[in-house]
């Protein structure tokens, strides 16, 4: 059972520890620094913490003693573009933020992936060195990706298939879903059926430009995938061959996160919000939508969540479920942090006073 809850905020990394009834504050790291993403090991001994220092760029720190001490690592960097052309030099890529991190699989100890803006990087040595994944970077379709909410496209989701660690799917906003079957050498676009209502009518089903807000694979039924998209919820039941749009979710189809039950691919949680230029809970009421039947029906869960005059938005990494499927955590843009011990039926406010929360994660 997860013993830690990691909360990445605009002003530092807060770690909570499980006790008999709730989660208690355990430690704060990098106080004052924006923490974009955290990747802990299952035993909580090795922890990666990515900072987005703005003026000073994306930084990466690693602890191998459960957060007692930290070592700053060289973060992923694009290869240097050697050119005398000033315009080309100016356009050459630089990592602006680490958006996502994932372990590369149990058969690849010490290896991990990192998603940036928008390059995907791989490390074989626990983050000591990084290589740009050239297969994805050189995929012709990448030229049509574009930023969604950020200037550059963001590679924010990395799903390493539990059946085969050489099979990795990534999601980009706005670049749809792309999957490799050979450990990153070759990639194919896997977005048939995704629909982008923000595009001209004849391009709405173009799989390459979809604004996937979050992608999640069912651990127990890995042929089943979920997407919270800019304009809807989509489910895939045929292992990344095609997507079906779910139109039954109440309140709103707009939102950022999706979390999938670890033991039931038909159960998933979403946090709806008023689209799209507004981005706050519909009518000021914070709710969570849960489906238990693959999207045919939804329950709207609100016990313990603020109702009325509420502006808490939950970002794409701001919702997490533990390995039991019972415990959920949710953090908001206005610094509210909630947990649920019963699959979202009831929510307990842990604190309402954190800095804006970018990500929550159990380990």
């Amino acid at each position: 059972m997860a013993e830690r809850l990691y909360v990445s905020t605009r002003k530092g990394l807060l770690v909570y520890a499980r006790d008999a009834k709730t989660w208690k504050h355990h430690a704060t790291h990098f106080l004052g620094a924006p923490v974009s993403i955290v990747l802990p090991s299952a035993d909580n001994q090795t922890v990666f913490c990515a900072l987005n220092l703005g003026h000073f760029g994306a930084k990466l720190h690693r602890s191998t003693d459960g957060g007692v001490t930290w070592t700053e690592l060289e973060p992923p960097k694009y290869p240097k573009v050697e050119t005398s052309d000033a315009a080309e030099k100016e356009k050459a890529p630089a990592v602006a933020q680490l958006w996502s991190m994932a372990w590369a699989g149990p058969d690849k100890p010490g290896a991990l992936w990192a998603g940036t803006t928008p390059g995907l990087f791989y490390s074989k040595d626990l983050g000591a060195t990084w290589e740009l994944n050239e297969g994805l970077w050189n995929m012709p379709e990448r030229a049509r990706w574009f930023g969604g909410g950020t200037i550059d496209p963001a590679l924010h989701a990395i799903c390493v298939d539990p059946r085969n660690s050489n099979r990795v799917a990534v999601a980009v906003s706005c670049g749809g879903v792309t999957v490799t079957e050979d450990g990153g050498k070759t990639w194919r676009v896997a977005g048939k059926g995704l629909r982008a209502e923000f595009m001209p009518p004849d391009q709405q089903f173009d799989p390459v430009i979809q604004d996937v807000h979050m992608l999640a694979q069912s651990p127990s039924h890995p042929q089943m995938w979920w997407v919270q998209h800019h304009n809807g919820i989509f489910v895939c039941t045929d292992d990344l061959q095609s997507w079906d749009e779910i139109t039954t979710a109440p309140i709103s189809h707009f939102g950022f996160p999706v979390a999938v039950h670890p033991k039931d691919g038909n159960t998933a949680w979403f946090v709806p919000a008023k689209k799209d230029e507004h981005r706050y809970p519909v009518d000021g009421n914070m709710v969570v939508n849960r489906t238990r039947d693959g999207g045919k029906t939804f329950e709207t869960l609100r016990r313990g969540l603020p109702q009325g005059q509420c502006f808490d938005l939950v970002y794409r990494h701001g919702l997490a479920v533990d390995e039991t499927g019972d415990h959920l955590a949710m953090g908001s843009t206005t610094g509210g942090l909630w947990t649920s011990p019963n699959g979202g039926d009831d929510w307990m406010l842990l604190t309402a006073h954190l800095a804006p929360i970018y990500a929550v994660r159990f380990a």
Partner: protein
């Protein structure tokens, strides 16, 4: 020797006292500094060895706004590597 001062925001990676460095341009003196203080490099330069967008460099009291790395310095110059101000 050129004197190079770093913003106090970089105290955890940069020396607190001015660093003496040699060179005829900002690029030269920063290269000299980074050779002795490698941890500073990634805070000042990006992946392509460009000055980061929100870093401000002053040479002898003048805010260098274009072609920062090519800006000339003399042995008597003072270079300040500062953080452009922003909120948050």
């Amino acid at each position: 020797m050129v004197k190079v001062h770093f913003t106090s925001h970089l105290r955890h990676v940069a020396p607190s006292d001015p660093v003496e460095a040699a060179g005829a341009t900002v690029a030269d003196v920063l290269t000299d500094v980074f050779a002795r203080h490698p941890a500073v490099r990634g805070y000042v330069l990006d992946d392509q060895d460009r000055i980061r967008l929100h870093i401000a460099v002053f040479v002898d009291g003048t805010h260098v706004r274009k072609d920062i790395l090519a800006a000339p310095v003399t042995p008597a110059s003072e270079v300040y590597v500062l953080q452009a101000l922003s909120g948050g």
